[in-house]
Subunit: 343 residues, 4 copies
């Protein structure tokens, strides 16, 4: 048995997606995402949004979506605010700055930020010698597996309204958060509480693609111009439409996420029972157990995963990620291996 828990984009797409691609393949469609399939997929998503003002746009990947959104929404002197662990701050090779905008960092242990922290940043930026904070970027789940509840997002939204800030949610793994929160947070909530958010496809069963939802008309204006300028308007745009059409049929989007979550949590429970602790409190498909280094070495012979951080002499946190495609047997084998190598 050998399996990689390195990430949730190791495999291809959910089989239903491949099927739909095959069925669609010979049909002629209009280009650049203005076709019937993209429209149908958008309509299916909009049924969950319950917000007549919301519009859906399909883009290829997370970094592309983040940079297109932020550069479209801000004027040159305006800045985004993000947790210091935020994807836009650390792992996008300065993509936001390359469009001209500073990202102001907020210290965060668990990957999340609070209304108080946001307001403090606003107060610190008091005049034209500093950038003007204009957009709050959060990820849900965060980059380290924690989640924001509906109440937490409401608190951020309230603060954003007071400080005249936009709220934008990076949902690269949004399915996992929705599944973990078990109804506490819905797409309709996000449509109500945010200015924009995206529903990640790449890490939730698609080959490629994110569905960006913009909830204010003024921000939707000319958005396709921004997409085109940033290289985000695919000629065969329906490639993404087909995938979201499938993912939003019969609840597949959340079903896929539930599968991934369940398997990650199964490992989490088993590891906890073995007495191991975790770097963060993650109910999602990414967990970060802290293990003795010799155990990590043993496990790495049969399983793929990233070493995340050294935590104490002789101990390190690793990252285990499950996906729509992870077989239960791989998870069981991993748990077995942990138990066998009990230390």
């Amino acid at each position: 048995m050998s399996y990689s828990f390195k990430n949730d984009y190791s495999e291809g797409a959910h089989p239903s997606i491949l099927e739909a691609m095959t069925l669609e393949n010979g049909i002629q469609r209009d280009g650049y995402g203005e076709d019937a399939v993209c429209n149908r997929a958008a309509e299916k998503i909009k049924k969950f949004l319950d917000n007549p003002e919301s519009e859906v746009f399909f883009l290829s990947g997370g970094t592309q979506t983040n940079l297109t959104v932020i550069s479209a929404f801000l004027r040159p002197h305006e800045a985004a605010i993000a947790a210091e662990t935020g994807h836009v701050l650390v792992h996008e090779t300065g993509a936001i700055e390359a469009t001209g905008h500073k990202v102001v960092a907020i210290p965060s242990g668990d990957g999340k930020i609070t209304a108080e922290q946001i307001h403090k940043v606003v107060l610190q930026h008091e005049d034209e010698h500093m950038v003007k904070p204009k957009l709050v970027y959060i990820s849900n789940p965060t980059e380290i597996g924690t989640v924001y509840t509906r109440e937490e997002i409401l608190a951020l939204k309230t603060q954003c309204a007071l400080d005249q800030l936009l709220l934008y949610v990076d949902g690269a793994r949004l399915g996992s958060a929705l599944a973990a929160l078990e109804g506490n947070l819905t797409l309709a909530d996000l449509s109500e509480l945010t200015d924009a958010f995206y529903i990640g496809g790449t890490k939730n069963g698609a080959w490629i693609g994110e569905a960006l939802v913009i909830n204010r008309e003024s921000l939707q204006e000319d958005f396709r111009y921004h997409m085109k300028q940033k290289g985000a308007l695919l000629a065969k745009g329906r490639l993404i439409g087909i995938q979201f059409d499938v993912l939003f049929t019969d609840g597949l989007y959340v079903e896929v996420a539930k599968h991934a979550n369940r398997l990650a949590q199964k490992m989490r429970k088993a590891l906890a029972e073995e007495g191991y602790e975790f770097l963060t409190d993650s109910p999602t498909n990414q967990i970060f157990p802290i293990l003795p280094v010799p155990l990590i070495q043993t496990l790495s012979k049969d399983f793929g995963f990233f070493k995340w951080a050294e935590t104490a002499p002789g101990f390190a946190a690793i990252r285990l990620v499950t996906s729509w495609a992870t077989p239960e047997s791989a998870v069981d084998a991993f748990i077995e291996a942990v138990k066998k190598n009990r230390q």
Copy 2:
């Protein structure tokens, strides 16, 4: 019979590609294009290049490739040069300028530019009050279906060397040019004569993807950083690798283009025999016949195509594009319809 000749991205992907995607689907691969399939596809392409210095990078689309290349190659004060009909000048919503660079236009009737024109632009930009031309952008075939021969590209290359300019070829429809030139121009020629060029997939049988070839080590340095920053590094990068692996197996890449060219040229011959003229002299899969307006109206009932330009009172040029998927029957039906409505 109803068929659209609007473009070469109306259908999905060549069936062999879908097959390969299905076979690959369950296999776990490394992310961000650093997997075995992308490597294999790159190696297959490199066999045609015959240039040990050339490297291959996979990106999603043409605009994305152009903006990533140009912004990576130029310093802030440097500019690109392109024909006034060049895709980067007209149809990319200022994507190049959005990365900070001016594109200097060269007047062109047939979509092509000459060494003399390039040198003239260089002479006109004489000091630090003007941008410094640094890169020549051409498309082959051009946006209006004309092609550069090996000799013409050699002439541009020679001028570029004299003027210390880089030469970059946009090959969105490169297969069509290679097929049309019947061996006069090869991938190895392009690898020898250009600093970079890309082999278009999207418009030649792929779902998505372009294979960028950079022929100088100094220009390859850190190129993946630029890809990531511009949102061009796909998590499931192998999606593009799989497609080029198939397209570069058993000559499929050129075979697909030959099919499209043959059908377009069949229409061209028939239209010429009917006495119609053409806006440009295109041996590729795009042709631009000039037809009487009533005929255009009649044809548009059964066939899709773009009206390109009014040419004289009562006449207009239309654009007819064929693809890997165009059935011969559609072409025959079109020809039949033209003949039936002889005017």
Copy 3:
């Protein structure tokens, strides 16, 4: 006798300015242009504007003003329109593109553009695959000495309103235009008919500095942020305030321009009487006579000027520029030299 007619920034500042700088030198003032002198200068200018909505901002130079204005006014996908001879298109080293924006060129023989040409550009940019024209840039006088009358600017303004475009006037030599038009065009007219324009100081008697006038509140919002970001907010901002305070006292601004115009026109008249023609019809302080090459060579021994363009075999246009500081004796000497070398 030896004098340079190369440009209108060869000498320092009008003596009254140096006097005021000396008087002001020891007084402590607030930084960054928020001082009493800047305020006073702005108020003096505003008296001429007759527009309660207009605000004045002081910047260092023309390129800096143009790039700050255009990047502040446009969203990323929006473009400026300018005559092909426009300063922003040719002689600012891609400064506008460096802020992310394309400048669309309009062909122009006399440096001016028309409402029809503007509307044509708008019609050509029909969808999100192209930039969206948003701002019309004109220079008055143009780079080649021609001027727009009030009626011509009104026509542009009317078209801009119809096409939802902003109208911005580069007034690097605005004094010269106002003086040449003898009351046909006033600062109040510009305040009424444009969204923004700048009153050039550097080329009209100041050491450094341009007074930007923005005539719409929505465009003034946060403008100092943009100035700071582009490096245009001087610590000792009052340096520019002092100069405009002097220039807008007792009509000095126009008086200085009248002096320069009168001397340039004196040369023009004399050259015309000698039978020479001109490249453009310039009533300003820049004239472009077409002279025989041997005469140019002879004159260049005693006078400085730029060769502008070859016009016919044996003939070339030269550029003669006068300034606030040009002595009448230099002009007389030049005329004398032309006459003496009659050909």
Copy 4:
């Protein structure tokens, strides 16, 4: 008695500068800094540099210099590193980001950074998903008055060489550092140990202007293009040349700084003798005493200064800045007032 210690740009320029401007005023000079006076000033500066490779460029202000340098030196994916209090990070309205580059922050209590901290940042940026650190930005003195000695800069330079980083010094108040370090650090040292640095004029007796020194030929190439593009090439460039010509005659540059330092240190000594502490250990013309709030209120009736930070209940740090123009009597009056209001 009423005097403002708010900053060192409250007054105009050193009288010798005004004299030189008056003498130069009527002389015709070439534009854009290519005149005899700029050349002479550059030569005078170069005598102190003792480095045949160094070249001098004159720009208008600090933010402008920083953004022009950093955007000229870096490729799009490269980033600068700075102390979290660095001017480029906090007080330039995102000017560096507006040119496309991230600035990575290093925590710092005293405004300075160490070789170890730099190396740690380099190690953290391990692949193409993150920016590539390329340039270290320091200010000397720092924004809070501390200084780097020659030995400290040598340590940074050594680390930069190991990590292939450029070292750039913002010398907005460089005169004050040089004067405070009493020969420990010279312009020749900076020319040897840095890739570029600038000699601040605006805050050391000039009306406007900074003298940028670039110490490597490869970085000087086309630098005037970058200046022009960023709006930093003044038409009457000699305005800055004249000022540096004066400042580098008979040691005026350091003399001016010594005067300012001496007066600031006189206040510092007196305040220390009164038992007050300081936020930072500053030997320069900026000091940050921590005073009881009632005393601050009393002093603010007669003296201008900025409240910098609250330090403890009832106490705050204020910033006192002296300049070339500060009269000793103002300093004595301030000391007197402190003593009179002893608490």
